[in-house]
């Protein structure tokens, strides 16, 4: 009798916990999910090493890089592969600068120039160093849940609030547990698919699950894809503030 009661209590506890969990998840709005998603991608500071592998009809090209970031706006990327060694991209709030060591030239990119492809990849400068404040730019709608790469994901639809964002429509699959974006579809206002992003491999850093290998395909250019592979990532590390200055860029 005692055993039977004990079983009942345990069963009830499990049901209660499950219901509370479902209720918690269910209570999350699309905006909450996006905030979690943005928070996951924003670090106090970070240092990363990796490579960009670009595949097009001319072949495969690999460029390696190191990058530093601070908060949502400041980032510096330095290319280390032979062909691009020393090229740097600095983004501070609202500004983007390129440095070419061979020409010893510093170029400030603005307006349409930010939309140029970086190193011939499917990633533009603004994609690489974009500011992470999704809710100020998009209206978000939760479409439901789907499984991607064996993980349960929220399916979110983003509709641009302004004309100043690159992709008027986005559909993203956000992990319900880790809030990492597993997949993204980027479209025109009329819904024409332009780019697709998929995370192929993840890594855990400081209890966060983050993309390790991300594939970006330009759907308008067949046989064109770019893989961003992170080989090393440290987050919340001590960084010298000088890193994000123009003086540092030309050194």
């Amino acid at each position: 009798m005692y055993r039977s009661n004990n079983m009942k209590i345990r069963m009830m506890a499990i049901v209660v916990v499950a219901l509370v969990s479902i209720a918690t998840v269910g209570a999350m709005t699309a905006e909450d999910i996006v905030r979690q998603m943005d928070a996951l991608e924003t670090f106090e500071t970070s240092y990363a090493e990796g490579e960009i592998v670009t595949t097009d009809r001319f072949g495969v090209k690999t460029s390696t890089f190191r990058s530093w970031s601070r908060g949502a706006y400041d980032s510096l990327i330095e290319f280390t592969s032979v062909a691009e060694r020393g090229q740097k991209v600095l983004r501070t709030e609202g500004e983007l600068y390129l440095f070419y060591p061979d020409a010893e030239e510093l170029i400030r990119l603005q307006g349409a120039a930010l939309r140029q492809s970086m190193l011939g990849s499917d990633i533009s400068y603004e994609d690489m160093t974009g500011e992470k404040d999704t809710l100020s730019q998009y209206e978000v709608k939760l479409l439901g849940n789907e499984r991607i790469s064996g993980r349960d994901c929220f399916v979110l639809e983003f509709a641009a609030k302004t004309r100043t964002v690159a992709y008027p429509m986005q559909k993203v699959w956000v992990d319900t547990g880790t809030y990492m974006v597993w997949k993204g579809e980027f479209s025109t206002k009329a819904g024409r698919l332009l780019k697709e992003m998929a995370v192929l491999e993840t890594m855990t850093v400081d209890n966060r699950t983050l993309p390790k290998i991300t594939k970006i395909s330009d759907k308008m250019k067949r046989d064109s894809a770019t893989e961003m592979r992170l080989t090393h990532l440290d987050i919340d590390v001590d960084l010298d503030p000088v890193i994000f200055t123009l003086q540092n860029l030309t050194w």
């Binding site: 349409a112 250019k221 067949r222």
Partner: protein
């Protein structure tokens, strides 16, 4: 002096062969000069015409700040309410049309083109009604028809069509960024191929209706430029000032530029090429000068004894110097007359028929806005300059050897072998 002129003429006829050979050398040099100069003037004039007719128009209005960022073809630096401004310009007698220029990726599909591909392009969105009042594409249609208002239709330059192996009826997609920065993709059907005399335009032209594009790119009631055609006789700078005043009256925020400002790169290149052409013309002259100089040296060397004898008989040095100068001038006159006559005869063909450099222009991106036939142009000033330069130059190059011979003493002259 009369005696010297008669003697010089007699000497020229006495040494017929030498006179003719030297005169022919001068004539060939001057004839080449006239022809090259004619082609350069003709090409320059035609280039300017083709620039204005197909590329820059005579005067262009842009939003303030657009010119500085023009290479990026920004859509956010645009002219508000362009049709009101066009209307105002038309009321003041100016033919004007709005245009939107934007950069795009041209996506080609294997279904039509045999293989998939893409290339960066510049697209010109035109008002299908007004554009032909400013630009002259009307007579350049090679195949198909022009794009119709509001439709997803595209007209392409014939060289570009050849390079892409594009045909009327093929579909392409233009992927671009709209006003603000959002991505947009537009499917367009090629409905016409134009063969424009301006190679730069023919090599890169993609023309679409402005209303179609305005809808896609959030450019409703906006344009990146208003182009204005002026009559050939108009003073562009004066008209540009008048248009600037007119625009200032209708509101702020616009800049007016003439075709000379817009084609500054072209004009700078022309300037450089003119420098090269002048060097070439100078070399042609130099060849003629060396010929004359050589002949005069030979003449003076052969006639040193004669020169000594004339001096021994009492002819003063100044008269002898003049005699030789007149002889040189006589050869120059003969050579210049033949050269100018031959040059003008050959120039009739060059002006009317021209020389076909199409094979050259197709492969090379030169500054000249002439597609294939390089036609010459008449320039009375050049012909007269050439004629008198031939005579003057002949006399000039005879100066030094004559002077040297006169410096010899009379016995040395008489003993000269």
């Amino acid at each position: 002096m009369k005696f010297l002129v008669v003697l010089a003429c007699k000497n020229l006829t006495r040494y017929k062969r030498r006179t003719i050979i030297t005169a022919v050398t001068i004539a060939i040099g001057l004839m080449l000069f006239i022809l090259i100069d004619s082609i350069l003037i003709g090409v320059d004039r035609e280039s300017v015409r083709n620039l204005k007719w197909y590329e820059t128009s005579s005067v262009r209005i842009m939003a303030t700040g657009y010119w500085e960022d023009r290479l990026m073809l920004p859509l956010d630096v645009s002219i508000d309410d362009p049709y009101t401004k066009v209307q105002l310009l038309r009321e003041h007698g100016y033919d004007a049309t709005p245009r939107i220029m934007f950069a795009a990726d041209l996506i080609l599909y294997s279904e039509d083109f045999g293989e998939d591909g893409n290339l960066p392009v510049q697209v010109t969105a035109v008002d299908t009604t007004l554009d032909n009042t400013v630009f002259r594409f009307e007579d350049t249609l090679l195949e198909g028809r022009f794009a119709e208002s509001g439709k997803n239709e595209l007209v392409i330059g014939s060289w570009m069509a050849e390079d892409l192996q594009a045909e009327v009826g093929y579909w392409v997609t233009l992927v671009t960024r709209g006003n603000g920065g959002f991505f947009e993709a537009m499917d367009m059907q090629i409905v016409g191929i134009v063969n424009c005399p301006n190679p730069n335009v023919n090599r890169s032209l993609l023309m679409v209706p402005i209303d179609t594009v305005a809808d896609y790119l959030a450019m409703e009631n906006l344009a990146t430029e208003i182009d204005i055609a002026l009559p050939e006789s108009a003073d562009t700078d004066v008209e540009a000032q008048a248009i600037t005043r007119l625009m200032a009256e209708s509101g702020k925020g616009t800049t007016v530029m003439t075709w000379k400002d817009l084609a500054g790169d072209y004009l700078a290149m022309m300037q450089a090429e003119r420098g090269g052409s002048s060097t070439m013309l100078f070399l042609v002259f130099l060849i003629a000068a060396v010929g004359i100089s050589n002949t005069m040296l030979m003449v003076i060397n052969e006639r040193t004894r004669e020169l000594g004898m004339m001096r021994a008989l009492g002819m003063d040095d100044r008269s002898i110097h003049w005699l030789f100068m007149l002889e040189a001038g006589g050869i120059g006159l003969l050579g210049s007359s033949i050269g100018v006559a031959l040059g003008m005869l050959a120039n009739i063909y060059i002006v009317q028929e021209g020389l076909d450099f199409g094979f050259f222009m197709r492969e090379m991106d030169m500054a000249y806005r002439v597609q294939s036939i390089f036609r010459g142009a008449w320039s009375l000033r050049s012909i007269l300059t050439t004629f008198f330069s031939g005579i003057f130059l002949s006399m000039l190059v005879a100066w030094i050897p004559t002077r040297r011979a006169i410096r010899m003493d009379i016995p040395s002259c008489l003993r000269h072998q």
